[in-house]
Symmetry: C2
Subunit: 315 residues, 2 copies
């Protein structure tokens, strides 16, 4: 379903760079990610009139932006492994990672100019700006125990939802879809993206490192208060809450992680899963009005599959 | 001459970001840089038909890209001061600096979509890619004593020349200038940009830190072999050369800097100044054929002023 084509086109991107840079690009784009954003771009195209070569281009662009942010995230998280391989920073250091992320980002924007439609370029540039702004707010509020669940939801909509939203929105725009279809797909993308981030945040706490192939437990260690932690703090009695806060501030995060993994004492992990599944239902509701075809079916199934992933954390 | 307008428009950019991000943007864009790339965009506009509001936009865009690369450079160089102020990384850490640079870059590309001309966006995205690729090659070849002068010249054309070239080229493109005028201005920009980098590299070795307001001596300390060092190595007798190489590899760069500052024993600093001035002459020759007006005069004077700056290193 065009995903192999996207994969091949992503692999070809390395040749667009200076030969001295090509090898690093090949490394960063390899390792076969889940390609969820490309999938969103393609399915949105299918749901709004059909998948065209322009949708394959869009899929490549959103994935390149995503990869660029991963390269930069791994610097900030001091992550060692990603997709079962050493991260770019673990292999070649921070300086090269900063520059490589920049290069990938520039290439994504360069590709976006091939649409000969500045609206498309603008939506992509703005999504990239929103992803980074979301991450800045997240960085700013590390170890900030006043962070509320609404703040968290806003951060994940910005840092993850916005690129999913751009992929889905532009999938419709490239087909010249009507405003309502475009809005529905965009909102579906944003909500599914946010739900995916909740899944990813649960995974960081309760996942299996060997199975997943990346360094886990980094969020809380770096002071990022994700939904399970906020749920834990929000529903704990005052004395407990104080003890948890101390553990976080003293950077003894493993004690918290352990508590959350057992989903005790207050079902914080389960509450997070519930919130993620609620978002998925909301997302699915957005596209209920679209004419049914194999692609709208697949968009629904995208939500269902994500719900199953979340369900594994009901301990 | 529109530079105040550019300055005001740069300052307004902060408000384009999320309120939580705005303060960091204000800090990064403040401090009044030399605004050389905006000047290049404006003068090129004047030289090719007249300065329009679009040239002011272009000036803002190239400066934002430049500022984004500075924010990222300061992470890599672990620089403490820039424009007489603490760097973004010194003040808020590397994570925030990575993200802030990304945001500024995304905003520059977002602004470029306002031209409703994807060719303009493409030239800007490609220039950004070339700047970063040049820096990757530079990073890759740190402490590489096989780096030749031709390699160095290629790196500085990429990392500095390409953004000056894009500013000058697009200044002409926005006026619908003919191909020869556009090419002449583009080549002028590239060569002047490279000459400016030679000046900046001499400054890092022989400048006065208090006067300049930024951390100096960082290039050699980080293994970046700039023109004066390459000139020193290239013209030293074998035994001397070996000793210098050892000093560089042992990271005892201050001994080399001291030698270069006295411009002994072989006039390496003077030879670098000569090379820079040769580039300036080449650049000025590119625009000799353009019709004379106050802006082409100013472009020539840009070269003359840079020559004077270089002349201070003739010790």
């Amino acid at each position: 379903m065009h995903l192999e084509e996207v994969e091949a086109r992503i692999a070809q991107q390395a040749a667009e760079f200076d030969p001295a840079v090509e090898g690093y690009v090949t490394y960063a784009i390899g390792g076969r990610g889940k390609r969820l954003r490309p999938l969103m771009a393609l399915l949105s195209g299918g749901a709004s009139g059909g998948i065209t070569p322009a949708h394959v281009d869009l899929a490549v662009i959103v994935e390149l932006i995503h990869i660029a942010t991963l390269v930069h995230d791994d610097i900030m998280d001091e992550a060692e492994r990603r997709r079962a391989q050493p991260t770019v920073n673990a292999r070649w250091g921070n300086s090269l990672s900063v520059l490589l992320g920049d290069c990938l980002f520039a290439q994504a924007l360069n590709l976006s100019t091939n649409f000969d439609n500045t609206d498309v370029c603008r939506t992509i540039a703005r999504a990239a700006r929103e992803v980074c702004s979301g991450e800045i707010i997240q960085t700013q509020r590390r170890f900030d125990l006043h962070l509320g669940i609404a703040d968290y939801l806003r951060i994940i909509e910005m840092k993850t939802g916005s690129l999913f939203a751009a992929a889905a929105e532009l999938g419709a725009v490239l087909n010249g879809a009507d405003a309502e279809t475009t809005r529905a797909l965009k909102d579906f993308g944003r909500k599914i993206g946010a739900a995916y981030q909740i899944y990813d945040d649960c995974l960081d706490i309760a996942g299996n490192e060997t199975e997943i192939g990346k360094t886990l437990g980094t969020d809380l260690r770096h002071g990022k208060l994700t939904l399970p932690v906020l749920m834990l703090l929000g529903s704990a009695p005052a004395a407990e809450r104080e003890r948890y806060c101390e553990l976080i501030l003293e950077e003894k995060s493993s004690a918290i992680t352990k508590l959350l993994k057992m989903d005790s004492p207050n079902g914080a992990l389960k509450a997070s899963v519930d919130a993620g599944e609620e978002l998925i239902r909301d997302a699915q509701r957005e596209i209920e009005g679209l004419p049914q075809n194999q692609y709208t079916d697949s968009l629904f199934q995208f939500g269902d599959a994500l719900r199953e992933l979340l369900d594994q954390f009901r301990v």
